[in-house]
Symmetry: C2
């Protein structure tokens, strides 16, 4: 059996009891280590907590040598550990499709991921539109397909969760060209870079999808003891110091509900300015969609 | 400290190790028992697993008498257990806002909820739009605001997760009017009712938001040992027998990716028909949005 085990967001103890039992009975345990990281735990912490050896699985192993991971999994149990929930990245779906084609049974053990835990910032999950990803820009590569998607979300008043790039075990172009197996230090996009990149694209595209004054929430170290939310405008967020990774960003939509605002104001650097930014947002929406009725959406 | 502890989806062992440690040290433990249920565990199962007493918290207690739950939580630890993730329902946000106003510190312990675990059906989470809720229709109450939201999602090609109504400890109008504290047996909406209600509104509104032939996935008992997905048209789903609760439904959008289809076909009752329904969907989309690029969205 192949077990895909979600580890949750931060510490070794964020694994579920079921997940822990599975890890402890498996013949081999792999830790997927390139689409995300556990913020408060190293591979050694995990090994100590589980009382067993864990093999790091980098992109090459998972994407090019997945049969190594799956070897014998029709007879013995293999655990593939994933930060967050196992279905957070398409790359894990690939692994399942491969397992299915080899006739290997599999089971997922779910856990929290940023996609549902982001509710902790006070924004209601049913007010979110599609999630977008933002990659590190280079001088000549600034992919901006997220812009069209944020536009779609904002047009109908929905919040957008922006997932920020993580670069782990990446090679420089030079090292790659020369075939040197030398890797760059890991990089995790912070809030100030994300906000700046978002604004950079707005300045180029000029479709007024969002502005310096658009209300946002920065989500830092979600689910860890020093989790932090900052409610501020996008312009303000481009100048904060967001600190240690991991980070995500939410761009508010005009459907923002009063209770959401009440919750968020506690995280505002400048309450008056933030409230004003939200009001401007709501007023700018020409046609408001029907309001949320408590009976239909509360539970 | 008030701890909001997510229990995950199905069994007692779906709690995280951190959550279990917290429950075991708290002075009082409440189980929120009206917005969802743990499929494979009763209150007694939880009590046996935790080795301690658990108090059921119904809607009245949480919404009208929340100060009972919060009493003394500035001095002792109180756990409030929630199926799924603590931020899945607005009612829990109310409790936090109340705690904040009383100066009671709080902490959330996250877990999987249907909003992220639904990825197990093979549809990519970043291809979902806003989530909608569907309540049980009565003869004279058929709220249809979900219809406009599904329309918004489908217009831009996104999938829609439809959460299905749960009625726990509800009174009949007659008993309520007469002040009798007699409760109806719990009801959980199944797939066939959901699909029929969705189609009923389409027949009335006639905006062709979806049809009998729209491809969908039924999601039954997600995260439990007898979890089941059925990929079929909405018309077909209105006639299946979906069995024991809980259920959710996903309506596919035209942005459906090839890998999503490959994964889903395994769950199709009629592979040819389902594939054809998806193709019709894609062809009907006049203007396709830019395709997902692997580099930006895979991780």
């Amino acid at each position: 059996m192949l077990y895909l085990v979600g580890l949750g967001l931060s510490s070794v103890e964020d694994i579920t009891v079921r997940g822990l039992n599975v890890v402890q009975k498996c013949a081999r345990v792999y830790l997927e280590a390139y689409t995300s990281i556990l913020m408060a735990a190293s591979k050694e912490d995990l090994e100590n907590f589980y009382g067993r050896e864990v093999t790091l699985a980098d992109r090459e192993l998972v994407e090019s040598s997945s049969d190594t991971i799956l070897e014998g999994a029709d007879k013995v149990d293999v655990a593939f550990l994933v930060v967050g929930d196992p279905f957070g990245a398409t790359t894990h779906t690939d692994l399942i499709i491969r397992a299915r084609s080899l006739g290997i049974p599999f089971e997922a053990i779910h856990n929290a991921s940023v996609l549902n835990a982001v509710g902790a910032c006070g924004l209601q999950l049913y007010n979110f539109g599609q999630t977008v990803s933002l990659v590190f820009f280079t001088d000549n590569w600034k992919p901006d397909s997220f812009y069209d998607r944020i536009k779609e979300n904002r047009k109908i008043g929905l919040h957008t969760l922006v997932l920020l790039d993580i670069k782990v075990k990446e090679q420089s172009f030079e090292n790659m060209a020369r075939g040197r197996m030398i890797y760059e230090p890991p990089r995790y996009m912070n809030i100030e870079t994300a906000a700046s990149q978002l604004l950079e694209i707005e300045y180029v595209r000029k479709e007024e999808v969002y502005t310096d004054n658009t209300p946002c929430v920065s989500v830092s170290r979600l689910g860890s003891p020093d989790q932090k939310f900052v409610a501020a405008t996008l312009g303000e967020l481009s100048e904060i110091e967001s600190g240690e990774p991991l980070h995500s960003l939410v761009i508010l939509g005009h459907r923002t509900h009063e209770m959401e605002i009440e919750y968020l104001l506690d995280f505002a650097t400048d309450k008056m300015k933030f409230q004003k930014a939200v009001e401007t947002e709501v007023e700018a929406a020409v046609e408001l969609p029907p309001p949320v009725t408590a009976d239909e959406d509360d539970d």
